[in-house]
C-alpha cells in the first residue's frame, strides 16, 4: 500500500501531477494525505478536483486550522492529527511524496 503525500498548492506542478496520477489509483492500494500548502486541495472550492480521485483522502488538522480552512473542508476528507499521520505512514508499505 502506498501513502501519497502532497504539500503543494492545488495549481502547482506537483499537485497537478499527483492528482492526475491518482485519478487512476486503486482504493485498496493507495491513499492521499494532504499537508502544509497541500491542504488547500481539501478546500470546498476544489470539489471537482478531489472527486476525480478514487482513494481515501486525509488532511492534516493543524495545517487546516493554521490557514482558516477547518470549516471549509470538503465532505469525505478525513481530518487527521500528527499521531494519525505517524500511524498512516506506519500502516502503508511506503510513502510517495509529490514534491
Amino acid at each position: 500500500m502506498v501513502l501519497h503525500t502532497l504539500n503543494k498548492l492545488p495549481q502547482s506542478a506537483a499537485a497537478i501531477a499527483c492528482l492526475k496520477a491518482l485519478t487512476k489509483a486503486s482504493k485498496d492500494r493507495d491513499a492521499l494525505l494532504l499537508l502544509e500548502d497541500g491542504v488547500y486541495v481539501a478546500d470546498k472550492a476544489n470539489e471537482a478536483l478531489v472527486k476525480q480521485v478514487p482513494v481515501r483522502v486525509y488532511a492534516l488538522g493543524v495545517d487546516l486550522e493554521a490557514r482558516g480552512l477547518t470549516h471549509r473542508v470538503l465532505q469525505g476528507i478525513e481530518v487527521v492529527s500528527y499521531n494519525d499521520f505517524v500511524q498512516l505512514v506506519a500502516e502503508h508499505k511506503m510513502t510517495k511524496a509529490w514534491i
Binding site: 502506498v2 486503486s26 493507495d30 508499505k93
Partner: protein, 117 residues
C-alpha cells in the same frame, strides 16, 4: 534484494534537489536494486548541451551516463511528460523506458521503497 525507486521531479540548476537525488542514486546502487523515474520538469535534468559553467553549478547531466556502470539501467519517464515538454528521447543524455501516465500509481507500488527528489 530491496528494489528502490528514485523519482527526480525538479529541473536542474535552480535548486540542489536534482544533484542530491543523483548522489543518492549512486550511493543506493551500492546496496540495492535501483530504478529511476524522471517526472515532469525533472526530465530537463537529462537535456543534452547543458552548459552551467558560468552559473557555477556542476554539469551533472554527464554523470547520468555513468548510471549503467553502477548497475542502474532501469530508467523511466511517462510519454505524456515528454510530449508536454516537446522532448524527444534523442535529445536526452540517456535512453529511457516510457510508461503510460495512467499506470504510474501501479508502477510505484511495485517497488519496496520510493525516494523523492
Amino acid at each position: 534484494m530491496k528494489r528502490i525507486l528514485f523519482t527526480q521531479s525538479k529541473p536542474p540548476h535552480g535548486s540542489i534537489n536534482a544533484q542530491e537525488g543523483l548522489d543518492a542514486i549512486l550511493m543506493g546502487s551500492a546496496f540495492a536494486e535501483c530504478a529511476v523515474l524522471f517526472q515532469g520538469d525533472g526530465l530537463y535534468q537529462l537535456l543534452k548541451h547543458q552548459q552551467p559553467d558560468d552559473l557555477g553549478t556542476k554539469n551533472f547531466a554527464a554523470t547520468f551516463g555513468a548510471l549503467a556502470d553502477y548497475g542502474v539501467d532501469q530508467i523511466f519517464c511517462t510519454r505524456e511528460d515528454l510530449l508536454d515538454r516537446q522532448l524527444d528521447t534523442e535529445e536526452l543524455v540517456i535512453p529511457m523506458t516510457t510508461i503510460r501516465q495512467d499506470t504510474i500509481c501501479e508502477f510505484i507500488s511495485t517497488f519496496d521503497l520510493v525516494l523523492d527528489f
